[in-house]
Symmetry: C2
Subunit: 104 residues, 2 copies
DNA sequence: TTGGTGTATCAAAAAATTTTTATGTGAGGT
DNA sequence: ACCTCACATAAAAATTTTTTGATACACCAA
């Protein structure tokens, strides 16, 4: 249905990096502020900022500002989109026979 | 449950590249041999070989040899693993309250 | 206003991925 | 055996991603 490979790829980039997987694991335990995430990660402040941007762009995570702090949490809609998309991308639409394109 | 971020990341690399997404789309229509895939892609023979290796390593795709041809198809078990994993990675385990780690 | 804190952004460097080119290998056919 | 075909692998080049360091910006407090 969706033919925009670029944006599909962007979604899954969320899950393709160790730091981001760690962030997601922390967010599963509820909303966290950037400083809290940073405490438990092995990267610099600007590094975290970069990864959070990737996560936001994937739609898996949302953020809110409160004063000078930024809070992040998993976005259920984004998560649902991701699950549906993996499902869609890996569902075979035929009774998967052998390919006979080369054999006579 | 799984704490091996590297291997989780490897799984999702399958979905992070435009060429590989195109391959998956073709495989949804059933098993295909390498030459057939190549026909419909914008990459060289060794390029396809590289991408198929990534897909195989992710567990989403399997292959079989027949004579000098190689056939690829989507692996239902790998697909199921992927869906489950996205689900797991994005499921919040608490009644997602606001984080209060910075506010007094 | 000034200064400090939390985060974002930019640019450069480093690292990883992808593409390209060349070569190697194994299966068939002659 | 030899040759060819389909594909894999290796090395080099090109590109993208990630990290790092510097700076900028917004907010708050004094």
């Amino acid at each position: 249905m969706d033919s925009d490979y670029q944006s599909q790829a962007r979604l899954f980039k969320a899950f393709c990096d160790e730091t981001r997987l760690r962030v997601l694991e922390m967010l599963r335990g509820g909303e966290k502020c950037a400083c809290k995430l940073l405490e438990n990660l092995d990267c610099g402040q600007s590094g975290l900022s970069y990864h959070m941007k990737v996560l936001l762009e994937s739609g898996i995570v949302t953020s809110r500002q409160e004063g000078k702090w930024t809070y992040y949490r998993i976005c259920p809609e984004g998560a649902f989109t991701a699950v549906s998309l993996v499902q869609q991308l890996t569902t075979v639409t035929v009774d998967s026979d052998r390919c006979d394109c080369c054999e006579p």
